[in-house]
Symmetry: C2
Subunit: 372 residues, 2 copies
Amino acid sequence: MNCAVVGVLGGGQLARMMALAGLSLGLRFKFLDPSSAACAAPLGEFVASGYDDPDGLSRFASCADVVTYEFENVPQNALYFVRQRVSIFPPPEALAVASDRLKEKTLFRKLDIPTPPFAAVSSRADLDIAMESLGLPAVLKTRSQGYDGKGQFVLQRKNDADAAWRQMKGAASILERYVEFDREVSLLAVRSKHGEIAFYPLSENEHQKGILHISRSRPGDVMEAAAQKHVRRLMDHLDYVGLLALEFFQAGECLLANEMAPRVHNSGHWTIEGAATSQFENHLRAGLGLPLGSTAPRGHAAMVNIIGLPPVSEKVLAVPGAKLHLYGKEPLPGRKTGHVTLVESTENDLEDGLRKILYAVNREEQCAQCVA
Amino acid sequence: MNCAVVGVLGGGQLARMMALAGLSLGLRFKFLDPSSAACAAPLGEFVASGYDDPDGLSRFASCADVVTYEFENVPQNALYFVRQRVSIFPPPEALAVASDRLKEKTLFRKLDIPTPPFAAVSSRADLDIAMESLGLPAVLKTRSQGYDGKGQFVLQRKNDADAAWRQMKGAASILERYVEFDREVSLLAVRSKHGEIAFYPLSENEHQKGILHISRSRPGDVMEAAAQKHVRRLMDHLDYVGLLALEFFQAGECLLANEMAPRVHNSGHWTIEGAATSQFENHLRAGLGLPLGSTAPRGHAAMVNIIGLPPVSEKVLAVPGAKLHLYGKEPLPGRKTGHVTLVESTENDLEDGLRKILYAVNREEQCAQCVA
C-alpha cells in the first residue's frame, strides 16, 4: 500500500485535510467534485463532475485503490456505481442511514441508543398528529439534505405548524421533541476492517447560528463510557470501517443521540494537534487495512471554526501555541474557511489561550482591516 | 499573506514537507526543479527547468510573493536572477558561504566559532603543504557540490595523497584535520526579519555510510548554550531570515563547527511531531514576516531515515506512536525516500520504541518481502 491511490468523493476541506494527512504516508489522491474550485483539488488528481455522471464517476474510480467520501449528501446511486469498480469505506449502508434522519433515529432506537422522541411527517396532517403525540416545542426537519441547521423549523406553538410545513416544501420530514440539554458532545471513533475500535476523547461542542463554533476535547469525561457503549454498538451493527462521529445532547446524566456522521468530522479537527494520531490519518489507516494509530490525547485541546473571511494570519499566529488551518476556499458568508487549534496541558491555560484566539479571529474587526 | 504564493527552488522532500506545512496555513506553492519526477511537484504549480534557464526562472518567479530554496547547490546566478524579481530568503549570501567549504570555515573562524584545523588545497603541491601543517589523518573535500559524504577522501598516510587528489579531479578543495569526536550534534534555529531567534533543542546525529541515519532530540543538553551562542553569532552576522542548521563535532567539552545548511534540515525532521512548531512551518513564518512559533519540545523525539526501498507501511505503523513519512520518490540505492519519527515522554521509552522502528525499517527483510 506504500503508494496506494485514495479516491475521495467530494473535494472540500475534509478531503483536503485527509490528503494532507495521507500525503505524509506516501498516499496519492483523486477527488471528484462538481466544482472545479474545490479546495482539495490542488492536492491530487481532480475530476470535475456531477455525482450523477457515470462518465465522471468512471474516470474517478479508475486507478483508485480504495474510495471514501467526505460528506453525507453523495447520492446512494453514485456510491453503488463506484462500488462495482472499487471498494468503498465507510460502508454505503452507513451513509444510507445517516442521510435520512428517520432511518437514522429508527436505527438508534433499535440499538437501544436513546434519542429525543420523534415521529415521521409526510403530510400536513401527519404534523398535527406528531405535535399531539410529542408535545411542543419541537423541531421539524427534512429527512435528508439538511446540514448546519438548514432545513429546520422550531415550532413553539400549534399556530407555527402551517409556516413550518410550508418551509419543508412537501419534503418527507421528521418532527423531534425539542430537548432542554445541558451541553452537546460528540464521540469520534475509528473501526478497522478487523473490528478493532479506537475512541477519541469526547468533544464538547458550542454552536453559533446553527454552525459549529468551538469544540473542546474532554479527556476522561464522566460521560465517556456511556458514549463509547453507544458508538460501539452502532459501529459493530454497521460492520463499519473508518471514522464515525456520533453527536449527542446531554440532559442531566442522559445522552440522547442527535445524529451520526459516517466520515471525518468538524468536531474532531482538534485531533490534528491534540491527539497522537489525527482523525484523518486514522480514517485512512482503517480504510487501507493499516494498523490504527493511538487516539490518546496530547493535552487539553480546543478548536475554533473560522467562518467567512479569514482573520489576519499574523494576529492568530501571535497567540502562543495557536495552530492555524486555512482551507484556501473563497470566503462567503456562513462558509467554513478554516479553523484554529490550541493544545495546553491544563484546562485553565486552554481557556486563557482560547480567549486570545477568539479575539484574534473576531470577524468584524478583521473585515474592517481587509476593507482598509 | 493569507494566500501568499511561496516559490521553492528545488522540488525534493524538503520542498514537499515545506508545502505540507504551508498548505495548512493557506499558502500556495510553486516549485522549480530540473526533474519533472520531483516529489514536491504534485503539491503546487511546477516549473520543470534547469537552474540556469532564464526562461524557466522567469516563469518560476512570476506570481511568487517570496522565494526560498531547499538545497545548497542552487547556482548563485540563479538566485541573483530571481532576486531581481522577488525577495528571497534565506539571504543568498548565506548560500554563497554554505556552498563553499573554504568560505564557510573561514567565516566560522572569523566569528570565533571553533572548527577543525583546515587549509585550502588548489593543487597537488598544496596538498603536501597542507598535510604537513595539519598532520594525518585528515579529510580532503571538494570546496563545493559535496553532500552525504560524496566528494570526500580520508587520508591515513602520506601515500594516500595521490589517490585523494586524483579523486578531486582538479576541483578546488579543502583539507581538514580528522577529528576524533564523541558525537555529532546539530542546532536548528529560526530567525525572523526583525532579528528574533528561536532555537530548537539540539539534535544528536548518527550516520551510516556518510548518510544521516538517526537523529535524536536532546532537550536540555549540556552543550545547548554553547551551540546557541555560535548559531546566534552566525545568524546575526548574515542578517539571516529563515531556518538554519549548524552541525558540530563534539570532542570532550568542545564543539567544532563542521558545516552549516541555510535551509530546513534532515536532522530536524523530528520537529514535525516533536516540537510545538515544525522547522518547516517556522521557516515559512520567518520568510513571510509572520510571528515565529514556539520551538518547545513535546517530549523526547527520534527520527530514522528510510534509505532506498521503503519498508512495509503495516510494519512501521504497528509500532505504537511511530509516525511514517514517505516522500513518494522512486526508490534508488542510497536515496532518502522517507523517515519515521517517534516521540515519547522518557528517553527509555524512546529507545525501546526506536529499536522496534529500526527492526521494522530493516531493508534486507523488506526487500525480500517485496520480491516475494
